[in-house]
Structure formats: C-alpha cells, structure tokens
C-alpha cells in the first residue's frame, strides 16, 4: 500500500478503459460490455481502497508528472474526496450493470454507438474533479465530464433528447466561460492555480485587490451552482435528466454533486473563515438561495406530470438542501450535508432506474402520472417504489430521515434556524404528498384492461442493479453510525485547512524507479542537488 501512485489510478483506469473500448466497441460489443463492467468494478474497488487509506485522517497529495507543487498539477485525497469517489463507484457500477441488461435489441448500451466509452470518460471526469487540487485542472475535469455527459445525454437519439441537449450544452458552455474568467482572474491576482497555494495567497491579499478576488470567488460560486442546480440556475435540470436514458440519468445523479463538492472544497479552503479579505464569501448567498430552491422544488414536485419530471425536482430539492447546509457554514451542518449527500444520491439513482421499469411495465402510458394499465410486476415495483419514496422524502426508518434530522438539529444554532425548520419540514410534507399521489395513481388505479399490450418485464440483471442500489441504501441506514462519524471527521478535515495546505505544498517528487541515465540510455544525467 506504500506505492505512491494509487491516487491517480481512479483517473487513469477509466481513461485507459475508455480508450480500449473505443477500439472494440464496434467490432466486439460483447467484449466491450464485459470490459466496461470489469473497469467499473475495479474503479469501485480502488475507490474503497482509497477511502480506507483516507479514513486515518491524513491528506495524501500526488504530484502529476513529478512537478513539485505549486508549479505542477497536484491531486489530493482526503476523506471528502474518498467519500465521493466511493459513491460515484457504487452508482456507476449499478448504472453500467443496468445498461447491459435486457434483450439484445433493447439493451441501453446497444441503442447507439460508444455508450461504454463515454461512460468511462464520464467516470474519469468525475474522479478527477473529486481528486484534483488545482483550480484549472478542476475546469479541465469539469469539461471532460461535461463532454462525456453531452454524448451520454444524446445516446439513442430522438427529438426530445436533441431539444434538451441544445439547452444543456449552451447553458454549460456559458458556465464554462464564466469558470475560465473566474480562474484566470484569480491567477492574475495571485499568480497561482494550486488550491492550497491559492488559499494562502488569497488570505494575504492587499486590500486594493480584495474586491477583484471577491468578484472572482463569487463568479466561481455561480459556476458551481450551475452544476449543482441552485435557485435561479436549475431550469435546465428536469428536462435534461428526464430526457436521458435511465442508467445515464442515474449516473447524472452524482454529476450535480460535483458542484456541491466544489462548493464544499473552495468555500472552506480558499474562501472560508480564514480567507482574509475574501472570507466567508458564500455565506450571505447560499442559505437564502438554498431555502428558495427547496421551496420552489417542492412546488415543482407537486406540479410534475411525469415520474421522471418529479424525480428531477427531487434532485433539485436535495441540491438545495445540501447547499443550504454548506452555506450555514458550521461544522455540524457541513457534516449533516455530507451524510445527507450519500443518501440523496443513491435514492435518486434508484428512482430513475425504477421509473424506467415502471414506464416499461405500463406500455404506451410510460411514466405519466395518470391511471393506466400495468404489467404483472405491480406488487414488486410498487414495494420498491414505496421504499425509495420513504428514503427520498426523509421519513424514518431510512437514512434520509437521519440526514434531515442531523441538519435540522445543527441548523438550530445558526441565524437561519427558524427558516430552515419551516421550509425544510414544509417542503418535506409537500414531497410526501406528491409521492403518495404519484404512487396511488400509478399502482392503485389501473383501469381495464389491467395488462397493457406490451409490458417489458424486469430482467434478472436489471433486478440485480436495482437490488444492489437498494442494498447500498439499506447499508447506509444500517451503518449510519460509522458513516456519521466519517462525515463528521470529513467536515472537521474541511475546516482545518492547515493539514491540507501542508500536505499539498509539502509533497515531494517521487524518486525515479530507475536511474535517469538508464531510461535515457545515454550519458549520465546531471547530478541534482
């Protein structure tokens, strides 16, 4: 385990797998599906191994290309990164298993070219974004995951997907332009892109440059909120996510969390309490916008006409809750946010896969929230929907309840305490009502003929993918104590920024495995001091 290159593997593995898949996907689709499954499983195993390493509380830095920080690009692994890597691995594995399931002519990965390649590149972008300790590198990984997501969204084609893609792509391109402006303005002021170095230099900025640093920091907040879908910037999400195919939508559940992760990282490390002239930059904005997002998402959940549209607003509600908790800015609220993040990502992935199964069982009626015929899996899918609905609205006994109650308990000491209680509980009630109404319309009111003409059954592999996600949800509930301790420690680590800065800036280049002259094959290399 002392091998120094573990940290870069979650990025390199999907990259190599994606490149290999490009070669075999056309000629040998069966091999491609297996390769993708193996690579995604290996990614999950790696993520778990890294989480075990990170659980001891140390921050591990890795210097790409052996350039010492802050001159080269550094990766850093701490508890927060490891937690998100594992979550990504679990959801990605379920999504790829679901995508290869079913009959050969209806398998999601066979509906268009290059599904697995794009999937692996998306995985690479996600892992890189969670690991990087360099702001421009974060931009590059954002682009990698976005480009892959454009392809995945358009997978299998159709006018609805193209319409959604136009909005989604142009919105994100405008977001990328803002990201670049913010990053280069920060570079122009501080002369560095390394997050740890940035944290030190922003804290020591002279007063005449503080305004520029604050505007760049707020521009970054806008960009991250585009990805995370906060109040004025979420209108792209419901249409985009409901247009995507089910496994892609399930994977996209973790994509909004990239924005949440970036906010958690940047607004504690660089623009946090010790940020000097740019301290606590996000705290006037995030709680108010988060509360507004939750309230409007509850209205959207009530007004949605299809199951997938409703899930889209549930994603927005959970993003609002997470950003609210991050914006409240105490250790307890951040710990609660990280705990809630695990549950909300898993349950949204479950719901997207379930909505696909429900749509297939109802023949032409799809997932529209109206009474209609239903195939012979009504009891099983109804029970699964019931469990997922309990998890998503935050009712006991599942972990969603624990996440929300941790947040409510932690929010009591903050200035927004009463507002948080009123809006979070009120929106939860609205979500419960909407979920009950949707469930009773779909499962309890079938009209004759009871069975639709074409009802595609759930194959055993699809059931395996769903069962795996349900197992993860139940594990999340059963292991709530250890997980809460882990997220508490992760929040603690976020607020103590000194070890992170020291680990990244103090990382030493790895000595070469062979003497340099043997690699070059010529004269001995010059001795370096």
């Amino acid at each position: 385990m002392n091998w120094p290159h573990w940290i870069v593997l979650p990025v390199v593995l999907p990259l190599v797998a994606g490149a290999l898949l490009l070669l075999v996907e056309r000629s040998r689709p069966g091999v491609a599906a297996r390769l993708s499954l193996v690579a995604t499983s290996a990614h999950l195993v790696l993520a778990i191994a890294l989480a075990v390493q990170a659980a001891d509380g140390s921050v591990r830095a890795y210097l790409l290309g052996n350039w010492s920080a802050p001159f080269g690009i550094a990766l850093a692994l701490d508890r927060l990164s490891a937690l998100l890597l594992v979550l990504t691995g679990v959801i990605a594995l379920a999504a790829v298993v679901y995508a290869v399931a079913g009959e050969a002519n209806s398998r999601v990965d066979r509906l268009g070219p290059h599904f697995h390649t794009l999937f692996q590149f998306q995985l690479m972008g996600l892992s890189g974004a969670f690991l990087t300790a360099d702001l421009f590198n974060l931009f590059v990984f954002f682009e990698v995951l976005l480009i892959a997501s454009y392809g995945l969204l358009l997978h299998a084609g159709g006018a609805a997907r193209l319409r959604a893609a136009i909005h989604y792509v142009s919105f994100n391109l405008a977001g990328s332009a803002l990201f670049l402006i913010a990053v280069s303005a920060l570079y122009g002021i501080t002369g560095t892109l390394n997050m740890a170095d940035l944290a030190e230099r922003v804290a020591q900025l002279p007063a005449e440059r503080a305004a520029l640093a604050r505007s760049a920091g707020l521009l970054l907040l806008v960009v991250f909120c585009v990805k995370a879908a906060l109040l004025p910037l979420y209108f792209w999400l419901p249409a985009t996510y409901s247009a995507a195919s089910a496994p892609v939508a399930a994977l996209f559940a973790i994509m909004t969390k990239v924005g949440v992760y970036s906010v958690a990282r940047m607004y504690t490390l660089v623009f946090g309490a010790e940020g000097g002239p740019a301290a606590n930059l996000a705290s006037p904005w995030l709680p108010v916008l988060g509360l507004g997002t939750i309230a409007l998402a509850a209205v959207g959940v009530l007004a949605a006409r299809s199951l997938r549209g409703m899930i889209g607003y549930l994603v927005i509600a959970s993003a609002g809750t997470l950003l609210l908790a991050l914006g409240l800015g105490s250790r307890e609220t951040v710990a609660a946010a990280l705990f809630y993040l695990v549950n909300s990502s898993l349950v949204v992935a479950v719901l997207y896969l379930l909505a696909d199964r429900i749509g297939a069982q109802r023949g032409g009626h799809g997932d529209v929230l109206a009474p209609g015929p239903f195939g012979d899996e009504r009891a099983a899918l109804g029970a699964a929907y019931f469990v997922a609905a309990i998890a998503v609205c935050g009712l006991p006994p599942l972990a969603g309840f624990l996440g929300k109650s941790l947040l409510l308990a932690a929010a009591r000491q903050t200035d927004y305490g009463a507002w948080v209680w009123a809006i979070v509980l009120g929106s939860s009630l609205a979500i419960v009502i909407a979920l009950v109404r949707a469930g009773s319309r779909i499962f309890w009111k079938p009209f004759e003929p009871a069975a639709p003409a074409v009802a595609a059954g759930t194959s055993s592999v699809q059931a395996l993918a769903l069962g795996g996600l349900f197992a993860a949800l139940l594990l999340n509930t059963a292991a709530a104590g250890p997980l809460a301790r882990f997220t508490g420690a992760a929040a603690q680590q976020l607020f103590e920024r000194r070890p992170y800065i020291d680990a990244v800036l103090g990382a030493r280049p790895v000595p070469p495995a062979l003497p340099i002259r043997e690699i070059v094959g010529g004269k001995p290399a010059k001795e370096r001091p």
């Binding site: 421009f136 590059v140 682009e143 480009i147 454009y150 358009l154 084609g157 159709g158 006018a159 193209l162 319409r163 893609a165 136009i166 909005h167 792509v169 142009s170 391109l173 405008a174 990328s176 332009a177 670049l180 402006i181 990053v183 280069s184 303005a185 570079y187 122009g188 892109l193």
Partner: protein
Amino acid sequence: MTVELLLAIGVGVLTASGVWLLLRARVFDVIVGLTLLSYAVNLFIFLTGRVRVGSPPIVDGRLAPTLADYADPLPQALVLTAIVISFAMTALILVIALRASAETGSDHVDGAEPAGARTGEREQ
C-alpha cells in the same frame, strides 16, 4: 496604457455582443454568441499574463532569468487549452444544432416556434 485600454474594451465589447446573442431565441445566434464569448474569455486569459512586448516566455539563457525579462508562460498555456476546448465544443454544438433542426424542423432554441409568436422576425 493605451494598449491595455484597447484590449480591455475589446474584451468588453466581445463579451457584451456574445451575451446579447446568447439571449436570442435562434440556435444559430446562440452559437455565434457562445463563440464570441469564448473569444473574449481567451483574450482575457491571455491578458492575465500582463501585456508585454518583446519578452519571450521560455528561458533561453541569453537574458537573466527574472520576471522582468520574460513573459509569464502559464496564461499562454492556459489559453491554448481553453481554445482547444472551446473549438471542440463549438463543433459539437453545431452538430447537435444541425441534427435538432433536421429532426424538429425549426431553428428555435425550444425546437418549435412558441404559440402566438410574431413570425417574420427573421424574414427580410
């Protein structure tokens, strides 16, 4: 100073035109807007290395290796990355736009003319 002012005005005009086009309802206008916006961003990144004349970005040993003699090479590397990404993205969104207009028969950003909209806006 005048060069800086001119370049700053250039960035501002490009950004303003880009944002204006971005807010229009035609896919083509939106794409041109995004292109202008990316030009503005590229220029802006380049300018964060400060405007210098006659200073090379790579240390070649002829001048003393101080910042007074050399330009900052990093913004130039960043702008190269940004150009490549924005070029690829423009190509991608063009393909999506072509497919969308072929499938929906409309170049409106929503894929269809809004009901009761004023037609003939684009007809000369």
